[in-house]
Symmetry: C2
Subunit: 189 residues, 2 copies
DNA sequence: AAATGACCGAATGGACATATCGGTCATACA
DNA sequence: TGTATGACCGATATGTCCATTCGGTCATTT
């Protein structure tokens, strides 16, 4: 397999297992079976490597969402299906939320930038989809950025934050049905 | 004025100005014009003092909300009015979010407990109001806890988190109208 | 009975030495 | 000639003192 892929896999494994700070470039190199210097042939630095992994995860998630969206299906059905698909990866999302949170506490501008990029990537993807259905005339005219932002915050809230103050998680169905019943519903014409 | 009130005022001022850690009990005592020991006649420890301040702020907010709610008015109007009233205090809310966030980074169970209490107090207040309108038959039957939780997360999201990735804040009207247009709207029969 | 500040032990922060890590680059290698 | 590599370097983190500060107590005062 090509070295870049190996490095990404190794880094992903190490970040997931030990978090950002506790992962060293040497460790990644060892797992990937490459020299430390090789990593720097592909990635500018540790921060960028991490960013690349996160951004690739988002791309994967976009693809997963697109795979369950049926062009001719009504908005509600597609929204529900896409959300259920995302929820299949909720543990992964929680894990990355935790790692990014660990990074956040440390307040460098680079971290803020990563968070901004992640948020922007997700919000603009959701925003585009919302917009498509607005144009189709299937849902009301709304500020798609605000709706997308709300959806993201709600998702993180129920998948991640909820467990901080509640003993048991909400099930995928509870979450998806609730979204269906509130936010998605409010968009209907 | 009674000493407990003086202490609360002094502590509030100091926490707001310097944050939790940088505020010392001696400092509070000095501002309040009392001996340090006196504080401990009213509050078990620093953590509890802070908690008391936050919980009192929530009580104030509840009162402010109740003051603008008109018993006979429709749900949408009251929800909008209450939200607009809360938004008058958004800077204060942001400030306390920051202080609590500062505390959070430090991960003691006591902090988690405070956060839990704050969340629970807010969610159960909103939940009760939601429930009232459900019983009146003005809004759909929904899981009031989930709706309240969503409203809280959305509020914090737009008032607090939004500014982390955007240069300019949303106006009170933008936020309130958006809520009206999405979450509140979805509750209508 | 309530208020207080001297007092205590624990926690914090500063200073300094050491270790570790991110990142570079001269060399090896293909 | 271009890619891979690990020894090397400077910066940052970690560990270790010790002095100071702070949260919390309590004997004394009011």
């Amino acid at each position: 397999m090509d070295r870049k892929q190996e490095i990404l896999l190794a880094a992903n494994k190490s970040f997931s297992l030990f978090g950002y700070k506790a992962t060293t470039m040497e460790q990644i190199a060892k797992i990937a079976n490459v020299g430390k210097g090789t990593i720097y042939n592909f990635f500018e630095n540790k921060e960028v490597l991490f960013q690349e992994i996160v951004l690739r995860m988002i791309e994967e998630m976009k693809q997963e969402a697109l795979n369950v969206i049926i062009e001719e299906a009504p908005f509600q059905q597609n929204a529900h299906a896409a959300l259920m698909k995302m929820l299949e990866f909720r543990e992964t999302h929680q894990l990355y939320a935790k790692i990014i949170d660990e990074e956040t506490q440390w307040k460098t501008p680079a971290v803020k930038q990563v968070i901004g990029q992640v948020e922007q990537a997700i919000v603009s993807f959701i925003g585009e989809k919302i917009n498509k259905y607005v144009q189709k005339g299937e849902i009301r005219q709304v500020n798609e950025e605000l709706v997308a932002y709300l959806l993201l915050k709600a998702y993180v809230g129920f998948v991640n934050d909820w467990n901080l103050t509640h003993d048991d998680s909400l099930t995928e169905e509870e979450i998806a049905n609730f979204f269906q019943d509130t936010i998605f519903r409010s968009l209907a014409i």
